[in-house]
């Protein structure tokens, strides 16, 4: 472990070129750590499965998601319907599979929005400092002052419920955290020798930000992205549970739980399977995120090292 830290440190000091090399090394380290961590491997496997189901769900699903069959309503799990049927006789397994796409889509798009906007704000705030920093970060403070789900609900409420507005709302809610993480990283990187060197040879601000600063703050951003995906999927599930996400008849895990909650004491499968799908997805993102943090985030590294020495 100490050798790797040493290597990172020397990479930092070799100037602009070293900046790129350092993040390459980090990525390689992260990937090899993921390969050797059974929990992270499990998480990655679950995510891979999820992507397959998310992309090919409608073709893989054993029956149509809106095939209503009143004769077979609220049937317990069986060979023909492994997850049972719902109050309209629809196949729960097929609906859970197809709904994976919604969760992934909302997670990726909303975290994408938060990442792009937050990182841009954070880069400008941290690099230019001064009034721009003040204005941008106070705006982020304001957004931070609202409980996450409350703000998302309020935004969806005024824009009207739906897939797109849910993505925007969740994206807005998670923007401040990316801005803060980015800014904190920029503040420490901009004082490094290689940034000053780049300034002295007349590199433009944009070039310095993109080529020298950004690669060096990639590590915390990768970790934050992975963990935010978990939170975003939880938020999407909560919004759709409240009827503010994807609108019926299209299936979403949260919505299925909401619709099934009235029958849950007679038909446990309506409560168990969609929720288990959310849980496994979020767990997988968290496991991968935690493993990445253990390797990439130096502050956490000291904690895990001390854990090792005292354990």
């Amino acid at each position: 472990m100490s050798e790797e830290t040493e290597a990172t440190r020397s990479g930092e000091e070799t100037g602009g070129g070293g900046a790129g090399r350092r993040s390459d090394g980090q990525l390689r380290r992260a990937l090899s750590a993921l390969r050797h961590d059974p929990l992270a491997l499990t998480g990655t496997a679950v995510l891979a499965l999820l992507v397959v189901v998310g992309v090919a769900g409608p073709w893989l699903a054993p029956s149509g998601i809106n095939e209503v069959n009143i004769d077979r309503m609220l049937e317990a799990p069986s060979w023909s319907h492994p997850f049972g049927t719902d109050e309209l006789g629809r196949d729960v397994l097929s609906r859970v599979m197809v709904a994976a796409r919604v969760s992934l889509q909302v997670g990726l798009v909303s975290v994408g929005i938060a990442l792009v906007v937050g990182v841009t704000f954070g880069l400008f705030a941290g690099y230019y400092r001064g009034w721009l920093d003040n204005v941008l970060m106070r705006c982020m403070d304001v957004l931070f002052a609202f409980p996450v789900l409350l703000l998302a609900v309020a935004i969806v409420a005024v824009l009207g419920p739906g897939l797109l507005t849910a993505m925007i709302a969740i994206g807005v809610v998670y923007t401040p955290i990316f801005a803060r993480v980015t800014r904190a990283g920029v503040l420490s990187v901009r004082e490094q020798v290689f940034v000053r060197a780049a300034v002295s040879i007349g590199a433009s601000d944009l070039r310095i930000i993109v080529r020298h600063v950004l690669p060096n703050i990639a590590a915390p951003l990768i970790v934050q992205t992975s963990l935010s995906l978990a939170f975003a999927i939880l938020s999407e599930a909560a919004l759709s549970f409240l009827g503010l996400g994807v609108q019926p008849p299209e299936p979403a895990w949260g919505r299925m739980l909401y619709d099934g909650r009235g029958f849950v004491t007679e038909a446990w499968w309506l409560g168990v399977f969609p929720g288990a799908a959310i849980f496994l997805t979020v767990l997988a993102f968290n496991l991968v995120g935690d493993a990445l943090r253990d390797v990439l985030d130096p502050r956490q590294l000291t904690v895990s090292e001390s854990r090792r020495s005292s354990g």
């Binding site: 304001v142 609202f146 409350l150 005024v158 909560a238 503010l244 849950v264 004491t265 904690v303």
Partner: protein
């Protein structure tokens, strides 16, 4: 210290001003005319004009904002589009239900998290440490409303020990209140406990690796004395912050849990306001919650600075 408090007060004031602006602009984001949308099929020109004038929507935007701010400062958050009652009154009467749920949940969380977090740090690598880590991973990954549904399934459905939902005021019948609050509070509390456990554990581990702990051990103090006198006191300072912030966010009403358990708190109010497109109530609830959230954070920062004087120097 006085300067620190003053600076934090000023900062919070600025953020609160921003919060009022966001809440105010929410209404402007409604596509079309919010009053018309809210009235829907119950539209009649007289009510429409009266509500518009009452909400000040016939004024220019800047005038509207300062008017909103001035009235908010005096505790007037407008009237409900639905019932015509003052928003402040509606929001405040929901506070006790949310407060009793939030406090019970946090107490429950502390009861679980403190022993678990502390033990898992002291006996790092042991069975209880693994259990604590599995628990905290489970808690941050599980959707709280799913756990609530599972709780209803088990305790109300299969075992029949607890009512599946509903609310009885604490002042009305403490016994019935307790049986109704148990499931929602345990649901919310378990998630909070998992966050707390993780935090207590890492805070303890950090202090355990300090030089003064090694010194204390080296001079032959018993482990119990080291942990109680040197480790706990320092490790629990940052934990105060986390407990308070968790409580603050729960005061915002756990919307989903309140909806699931038919708990008539702020969260449920927000949900109903969204369903009814009662925008003034939505604005009022959001504003109150955000203000409360800011206030608790401010108090925590000041308390934290008192507990750990190094903070004010930074």
């Amino acid at each position: 210290m006085a300067r620190f408090v003053l600076r934090r007060l000023l900062q919070s004031g600025v953020v609160l001003l921003g919060v009022t602006l966001v809440v105010f602009l929410l209404l402007q984001l409604v596509p079309g005319d919010p009053v018309r949308v809210a009235l829907g099929t119950r539209f009649d020109p007289q009510t429409y004009e009266a509500l518009r004038a009452r909400a000040g929507l016939d004024q220019p935007l800047v005038v509207q904002y300062f008017d909103y701010l001035r009235r908010a400062l005096t505790g007037d958050l407008g009237v409900s589009f639905r019932s015509g009652r003052p928003v402040t009154e509606i929001v405040l009467e929901r506070l006790p239900a949310t407060l009793s749920l939030a406090v019970t949940a946090v107490l429950f969380a502390m009861l679980v998290a403190f022993p678990l977090g502390i033990l898992s740090a002291i006996r790092s690598g042991s069975l209880i440490d693994h259990a604590a880590r599995v628990f905290s991973q489970f808690g941050v990954s599980v959707p709280d409303f799913w756990m609530g549904i599972m709780g209803i399934l088990l305790f109300a459905g299969v075992l029949g020990w607890l009512p599946p939902s509903g609310y009885v005021a604490l002042t009305e019948d403490p016994g019935k209140w307790a049986s109704h609050v148990a499931l929602p509070a345990a649901t919310v509390g378990l998630v909070t406990a998992s966050i707390l456990t993780r935090f207590i554990r890492s805070s303890m581990l950090e202090v355990l690796s300090e030089d003064y702990v090694r010194t204390a051990e080296a001079k032959g103090l018993r482990t119990r004395v080291v942990v109680l006198r040197h480790v706990l006191r320092n490790a629990l300072i940052p934990v105060v912050t986390v407990v308070a912030v968790q409580l603050a966010s729960l005061l915002g009403g756990v919307i989903v849990i309140e909806v699931l358990f038919a708990w008539p708190g702020i969260g449920r109010l927000t949900y109903d306001a969204v369903q009814a497109r009662d925008y003034p109530v939505l604005q009022g609830a959001v504003l109150l919650v955000a203000a409360l959230f800011l206030l608790v954070n401010l108090l925590v920062d000041i308390l934290y600075a008192r507990l750990d004087p190094r903070i004010t120097v930074k």
